[in-house]
């Protein structure tokens, strides 16, 4: 696969630079340095009762003291008085919105001028993501394979992805819905970043251990006042990660998962989950790797034609429409498609799992369907078949 977006970090190059430690002013200086280099800086903020990504001007915009509690179908964010800035797990919003916006115009053509005008993908300054979790970085890696440089390249995604600066923050506070340890995407950051921070809050002294993953990451960090990381700093980092692993929710056994799902397409569990599933599509909207879009050609009264695309979902009936009807006409068939693609056939198609274990689909399902439980129920009843054949497939 062509390496369109070189994944820095852990390659023995810039990644082998020794870690540094900055204080909160240093973190602010990192953000300012990125801005002075022409980046739009986007990071976690509190908006509308949840953590979501928005433009930040400095460290003061970050969600200090905010903590979340998540369970299937439930998310609560509460303020606190402590000094932690990154004391939460991911909200509904993900990096997907930044690189694959929910709605966009692909091209326009006038009534007199039928040559389509390609709309620029963004026309904005390059983006620097500050304070995104390793599971988000892993999701970007998956989107890169799908949209960025595999068999098909989406130029709109690629133009946004090119020049993207990533300053990730390792996870010290996963939610009960999280299972990144199962998917191998966290809580620590291994690669795919320019800078990787670990927030260490001991008494009243928050500090950030920063590792370098690329030359441009090194250049940014060089501008900022920092100390070499001591053995004590590194031990504190390991403690943060160890604590995160114990706070994680229960996981998913991934061994042989694609094969398990493939031989269980008629497992009665799919009927059971379909009876609870709202078919609302929230899981796919919040999933950081669900990349499906629908393309619509719109005309207006002046004769202008616009090609628009919007986030779509395999839970829409029309998503599987081909001549004569939908191939997946039931909720059972659509849920099964989503789960088996995400965890199973994605491997054959793109070479990895489609799941990063962020748990969004679990927390943001209004009826709290837990993908982990569906998988373990399938595993427990491996090989069971539905009682009767279903007329019309599904």
């Amino acid at each position: 696969m062509p390496d369109l977006f070189p994944q820095p970090g852990g390659d023995g190059g810039a990644g082998s630079k020794p870690a540094r430690v900055v204080d909160r002013a240093g973190l602010d200086a990192v953000i300012r340095s990125l801005q002075s280099r022409g980046y739009r800086t986007v990071g976690p903020t509190v908006r509308d009762r949840a953590i979501s990504l928005a433009e930040i001007s400095g460290v003061a915009d970050l969600p200090q003291g905010w903590h979340d509690s998540q369970s299937p179908g439930s998310y609560r964010l509460t303020p606190g008085a402590d000094l932690e800035i990154f004391g939460w797990a991911v909200g509904a919003d993900s990096v997907k919105r930044q690189l694959l916006p929910p709605r966009e115009v692909v091209w326009r053509a006038g009534a007199q001028d039928l040559v389509p005008h390609e709309e620029p993908a963004a026309g904005l300054a390059p983006l620097a993501l500050v304070g995104v979790r390793p599971c988000e970085v892993a999701a970007l890696g998956i989107l890169d394979r799908v949209l960025g440089g595999g068999r098909v390249t989406d130029p709109r995604y690629a133009s946004r992805r090119e020049g993207l600066f990533i300053c990730t923050v390792e996870c010290g506070s996963p939610a009960s819905t999280c299972f990144c340890t199962s998917m191998g995407t966290g809580p620590g950051a291994e690669s795919g970043f320019d800078l990787a921070m670990t927030e260490i809050v001991e008494e009243d002294d928050p500090r950030y251990l920063v590792r370098v993953g690329s030359d441009r990451g090194a250049a940014v960090l060089d501008e900022v006042e920092s100390q070499p990381a001591t053995l004590r700093d590194e031990a504190a980092r390991q403690e943060v990660l160890a604590r995160a692993r114990t706070r994680m929710g229960h996981g998913v056994v991934t061994e042989g998962l694609p094969e398990l799902l493939e031989r269980n397409l008629e497992n009665p569990r799919w009927d059971q989950v379909a009876s609870r599933c709202l078919s609302c599509g929230n899981c796919t909207q919040v999933c950081p790797t669900c990349f499906c879009v629908s393309v619509e050609d719109i005309t207006d009264l002046a004769g202008t034609v616009e090609r628009r695309r919007r986030w779509a979902s395999c839970f829409e009936v029309g998503h599987s429409y081909i001549h004569g009807g939908a191939v997946r006409p039931t909720t059972r068939s659509r849920y099964r498609q989503w789960a088996t693609h995400k965890l199973g056939t994605w491997h054959a198609q793109f070479g990895t799992s489609g799941c990063v274990g962020c748990g969004r689909c679990i927390a943001w399902c209004p009826v709290g369907i837990d993908l982990r439980e569906e998988v373990s129920a399938i595993r427990a009843s491996d090989g069971m078949r539905a009682l009767a054949p279903r007329p019309g497939g599904g």
């Binding site: 009762r49 179908g73 609560r76 929910p102 709202l278 719109i298 009936v317």
Partner: protein
């Protein structure tokens, strides 16, 4: 004045049954596009705009309102016979409207309470959607309909293409605009997961749960949501009320409202 890009100038007529007129007024609400629209189509019958009418046949009939009298039913059949394309607009025409609450009650009892001389009232026992009586080519949902969707249906007809009117849930619109889920954040009950999109998810964006104005989304699972509302502490009678507003005669909403109805009428 612009004209239809395809050169097709369809004759458009607007008809009303039991309804409040709000949906057809959405046509006049297309202020910025109104002159262009008037140039692109021939408006043959639209009493909210002009008393001047042109006899049928019509290329496109927009039908608002539900069927509540036998006279209405005869009039509807004549409209269908003189219209090439019949498009229903709004919750009354597509799901009986708020007046379909009569379907769960005794109409004679209502008329006795409301009218001094109930013997003059000739009405059916039910309020029913247009599609229960005649073939409908397209249903545009909403209470009221969204004027952008109405324009989309008209421009699609002019261009001979399918209108881009998605049938998925309101949730997709919330997520697209970045609204935090009210159900998951524990803020308030919401019908969004079972309701068809089209409004732009305006209520959740201001912290109010979806009222279900656009009726059931495709593949909606109201019983799963009903269970969720009960688990959240809502009384069964209130679940019934939630599913009995503007689209109570939509079959899957009717069914869910009856499941929690202490009287289990009809």
């Amino acid at each position: 004045m612009s004209s239809s890009p395809s050169g097709f100038h369809p004759t458009i007529a607007v008809f009303k049954f039991a309804s409040c007129d709000g949906c057809q007024l959405s046509l006049l609400d297309c202020e910025d596009e109104l002159l262009a629209l008037a140039g692109a189509v021939r408006i043959a019958n639209f009493q909210e705009m002009s008393r001047a009418t042109i006899e049928g046949p019509y290329d496109i009939a927009f039908v608002e309102g539900s069927i509540t009298t036998s006279h209405d039913l005869e009039r509807l059949q004549r409209i269908r016979a003189t219209s090439t394309t019949l498009i229903t607009i709004g919750a009354c025409a597509t799901a009986g409207g708020i007046q379909a609450l009569r379907n769960f009650a005794d109409v004679q009892e209502y008329t006795a309470v409301v009218y001094p001389r109930p013997e003059f009232i000739r009405t059916l026992a039910t309020s029913t959607p247009i599609a229960e009586h005649v073939r409908v080519d397209f249903e545009l949902r909403g209470c009221p309909i969204n004027r952008h969707q109405l324009l989309e249906v008209i421009t699609a007809a002019l261009a001979g293409r399918r209108p881009a009117v998605p049938r998925h849930s309101v949730c997709a619109e919330c997520k697209q605009r970045g609204t935090t889920c009210l159900l998951v954040a524990g803020a308030t009950p919401c019908l969004g997961p079972v309701t068809q999109a089209g409004c732009g998810a305006i209520c959740p964006a201001v912290g109010r749960g979806c009222y279900g104005c656009y009726g059931p989304a495709e593949a909606a699972n109201p019983s799963a949501l009903g269970d969720r509302l009960l688990a959240g502490g809502m009384a069964p009678a209130d679940v019934t009320r939630w599913f009995r507003t503007f689209n109570s005669a939509a079959p899957v909403f009717t069914k869910e409202s009856l499941r929690h109805d202490p009287q289990r009428q009809r």
